[in-house]
C-alpha cells in the first residue's frame, strides 16, 4: 500500500514537472500578450508528433529534443505574426482565433500523422527497483530534463537581452517602447518561445504518453489550472502549482480512481479562484 502511494506520487511529480514546462509557455504568452490561448494543448501535441516524426526519420530519439522546440518556435513566431498580431490583444477575439488554430493544428496532424494513437519507445530502456516495483529509468530521466529546461528558462529570463526585454514589456509596455525595446518583435519571439516550451514538453513526454492528434485536449485545462493557482503572471508560482497539483492527483489516485482525483483538483482550483484569486503563492515567491 505504502509503495503504491509513493509510486503514484512519484508519477504525479514527474508528470507535474513536464506540465510545468507547458504551463510556463502558456503563462508567458498570457502574461505578455494577454492572449487566452486555447490552442496551447495542441502546441504540446505538436511537440509529441514532431518527436515521433524525427525519430522515424533519423532513427535517433535525441534529435527530437532539438527538432521539436526549434520547429515549434518558428511555427509559433509565424502564428503570432499572421493570426495574433492582427487582433491587437483583444482577449475575446483571441479565444476565437486560437480555437481556430487548435482545429487547424489537430486536423493537420490528423492528415499527416493519422488518426490512430501510437506509442513511442523510450530511448533508455530498462528499469530500476524503486518502492518495490521496477521503475522505468526514462521517467526519472524525463524529470531531470524537465528540471534542467525549467532552470534554463529562468536563467534565460534573468540573464539574456531577450529575457530582460520580455520582462520589461510585460511590466510596462509604454516605458519599454520609449526605452527603445522593439515590442512588436518581442511579441513574436515570446509567442515562439511559448510554443517551443510546450513542444519541448511534448518531445520529453512522448515516450510516457501516447502520440495522438487529440493529445492536447486533456492537457489544456490542467495547464490553465496551474497558471491560475500559481497566480497569473507569477512564473515560479506556475511551476510550483503544476508540480503540486499533479503530485496531489497522483496521491489521490492511489486511494480513488483517476476521475475522483481530477475532480478534487478542480474543486481545489475553484476554492483558490474564489478565496485567493491572486494565486496561492503571492507573497511567498517573487
Amino acid at each position: 500500500m505504502r509503495d503504491t502511494v509513493l509510486l503514484l506520487a512519484m508519477n504525479g511529480l514527474i508528470w507535474g514537472l513536464i506540465i510545468a514546462l507547458i504551463a510556463l509557455g502558456l503563462s508567458v504568452i498570457f502574461g505578455l500578450l494577454d492572449i487566452i490561448n486555447i490552442a496551447h494543448g495542441d502546441f504540446f501535441m505538436v511537440g509529441t508528433v514532431l518527436a515521433w516524426f524525427s525519430l522515424s526519420a533519423t532513427g535517433n530519439f535525441w534529435v527530437g529534443f532539438i527538432v521539436a522546440p526549434v520547429i515549434g518556435f518558428f511555427i509559433g513566431a509565424v502564428i503570432q505574426r499572421l493570426v495574433i498580431q492582427p487582433i491587437h490583444g483583444a482577449a475575446a477575439l483571441s479565444i476565437v482565433a486560437t480555437f481556430g488554430l487548435s482545429l487547424i493544428l489537430q486536423e493537420t496532424v490528423r492528415i499527416t500523422f493519422g488518426a490512430t494513437p501510437r506509442r513511442m519507445l523510450a530511448p533508455i530502456q530498462g528499469t530500476i527497483p524503486l518502492f518495490g516495483v521496477d521503475y522505468e529509468i526514462y521517467r526519472l530521466f524525463a524529470a531531470l530534463i524537465a528540471l534542467l529546461a525549467l532552470a534554463g528558462f529562468f536563467l534565460f529570463l534573468q540573464h539574456t537581452k531577450l529575457g530582460v526585454w520580455m520582462r520589461a514589456v510585460r511590466h510596462d509596455r509604454e516605458t519599454a517602447v520609449a526605452m527603445g525595446i522593439p515590442a512588436q518583435r518581442v511579441y513574436v519571439l515570446t509567442f515562439g518561445t511559448g510554443f517551443a516550451l510546450a513542444a519541448f514538453g511534448g518531445a520529453v513526454a512522448a515516450p510516457i504518453t501516447t502520440v495522438d492528434f487529440r493529445g492536447g485536449v486533456d492537457v489544456l485545462p490542467f495547464c490553465f489550472m496551474a497558471v491560475i493557482i500559481g497566480g497569473l503572471g507569477n512564473l515560479p508560482g506556475t511551476v510550483a502549482a503544476a508540480v503540486l497539483l499533479s503530485f496531489l492527483e497522483g496521491l489521490i489516485q492511489s486511494v480513488a480512481d483517476p476521475t475522483v482525483a481530477r475532480i478534487s483538483s478542480l474543486v481545489l482550483m475553484s476554492a483558490v479562484l474564489l478565496l485567493r484569486p491572486q494565486g496561492l503563492f503571492q507573497g511567498f515567491t517573487k
Partner: protein
C-alpha cells in the same frame, strides 16, 4: 432604399422562409436539410446564451455546456428514470439547468473577466467528469437513449415530435419565444442595466446598480436559454450524453457568437448557421472539414472583429449617413 425598408424586407423574407421550410426545402433539395435547420435553431439558442453574457453583460462564459447538459439530462432522465411525460420532462430540464446556473452563478459572478472565464470552465469540467464517472446513471460518453412521449393528445389525435414537420414547428415556436423573451429583457430597464455593467461596471455600481445581483440574474437567464436548447436537443436526438458537457462544446457557442456578432440579437443565429451549414456541406465531401472551420474562425476575427452582423450594421449606418447627407443637400437646394 433606406435602412428601415431594407431591414423590414429582410425580416419579412426571413420569417416567410422559416415558415415555409418544411415545404420549400424538400422541394428545393432534400428533407435532410429540414432536420439540419431544426438543429441550427436549437444550437443558435445555445449560442444566444453565451451571447447574453458576453455581448450584453460583458462576462465571457466558457461553461455554458454545463447548463446545456443539465437541460439534456433533465429531459432524458425525467423520461427514462422517472417516467415523466413530455411537458414535465421539458420543465425538469429547464428547471435543473436554471438551478445549476443559480448555484454556480452565486460563486462565479463574483469574479470578472479572465477569472470568470476560468471558473465557468472549471465548474463545467467538474460536472463533466462526474457525469462520465457516474456511468450507470448518465451512460457516460455513450449517453442514455429514451423513447419519445407525445407532446399533446386531444382525444385520439396525438402530436409527437416523431413527425419531422411538427418537430420543426415545435422547435421554431420554442426558439422564437425564447428570442422574443430575450429581446424584451434587453429592451427593458434590466437590459439597460446589463449593458451599463458591460460598458463599465464601476460606473454602473456608482449610479446605484447592484452589479452582483444583475450579473447573477443574467447568469441564470443564460442558464435558462442553454437549458431550453439542451432540452430541445435531447428531444431532437432522443438521447443525452456527457460528451455534450465538455468544454469544447462551450467554446463553440462562444465562437459562433463572436463570428456572428456578439451583443446583437441575431449574431448567434447567423454564426451558428454559417458553421453548421459549412460542416454539413463540406463534411460529406471532405473528411477534414475542421480545417475550413478553423480557418474561417481566424479570418472572421481578423476581418470582421464585430462579427458578421456587426459588418452588416456598419453598412447600414453608412447607408443612413448617405441618406442623411442627401436629404440635407436637398433641403439646402429647396431653400435658397
Amino acid at each position: 432604399m433606406t435602412r428601415r425598408s431594407i431591414e423590414i424586407g429582410v425580416a419579412v423574407a426571413f420569417s416567410a422562409f422559416l415558415i415555409a421550410v418544411p415545404w420549400l426545402v424538400p422541394a428545393l433539395t432534400d428533407t435532410f436539410w429540414v432536420s439540419v435547420i431544426t438543429e441550427i435553431l436549437i444550437w443558435s439558442l445555445f449560442a444566444a446564451s453565451a451571447n447574453l453574457l458576453l455581448g450584453y453583460v460583458g462576462l465571457l462564459s466558457f461553461g455554458q455546456a454545463l447548463y446545456f447538459g443539465f437541460g439534456m439530462y433533465g429531459v432524458a432522465l425525467g423520461i427514462d428514470n422517472l417516467g415523466l411525460s413530455f411537458w414535465p420532462a421539458f420543465g425538469l430540464g429547464i428547471i435543473s439547468a436554471m438551478a445549476m446556473a443559480l448555484v454556480s452563478g452565486v460563486f462565479a459572478v463574483r469574479l470578472s473577466w479572465h477569472y470568470f472565464a476560468i471558473i465557468t470552465v472549471v465548474f463545467s469540467l467538474i460536472f463533466y467528469f462526474l457525469a462520465v464517472s457516474m456511468k450507470p446513471l448518465t451512460g457516460g460518453d455513450d449517453g442514455v437513449n429514451f423513447s419519445l412521449p407525445p407532446v399533446f393528445h386531444f382525444g385520439r389525435t396525438v402530436w409527437s415530435l416523431t413527425d419531422p414537420t411538427f418537430q420543426y414547428f415545435f422547435v421554431l415556436a420554442v426558439v422564437s419565444v425564447c428570442y422574443f423573451l430575450m429581446y424584451r429583457v434587453i429592451k427593458s430597464p434590466l437590459g439597460k442595466g446589463f449593458v451599463a455593467i458591460r460598458d463599465n461596471d464601476l460606473r454602473a455600481s456608482l449610479i446605484g446598480l447592484n452589479v452582483y445581483v444583475l450579473r447573477l440574474i443574467a447568469f441564470v437567464m443564460a442558464g435558462f436559454l442553454a437549458g431550453v436548447s439542451g432540452a430541445l436537443f435531447a428531444f431532437f436526438g432522443r438521447y443525452a450524453s456527457a460528451s455534450y458537457m465538455f468544454y469544447q462544446v462551450s467554446g463553440e457557442a462562444v465562437v459562433w457568437t463572436i463570428v456572428g456578432g456578439a451583443g446583437t440579437m441575431f449574431g448567434p443565429l447567423v454564426g451558428t448557421t454559417l458553421f453548421i451549414v459549412i460542416r454539413e456541406i463540406v463534411s460529406s465531401h471532405w473528411e477534414h472539414h475542421s480545417l475550413i472551420v478553423g480557418l474561417l474562425a481566424i479570418l472572421a476575427v481578423i476581418f470582421a472583429p464585430k462579427g458578421i452582423v456587426g459588418l452588416w450594421n456598419g453598412w447600414m449606418t453608412r447607408l443612413d449617413e448617405r441618406d442623411a447627407a442627401a436629404s440635407a443637400q436637398l433641403k439646402l437646394q429647396a431653400e435658397p
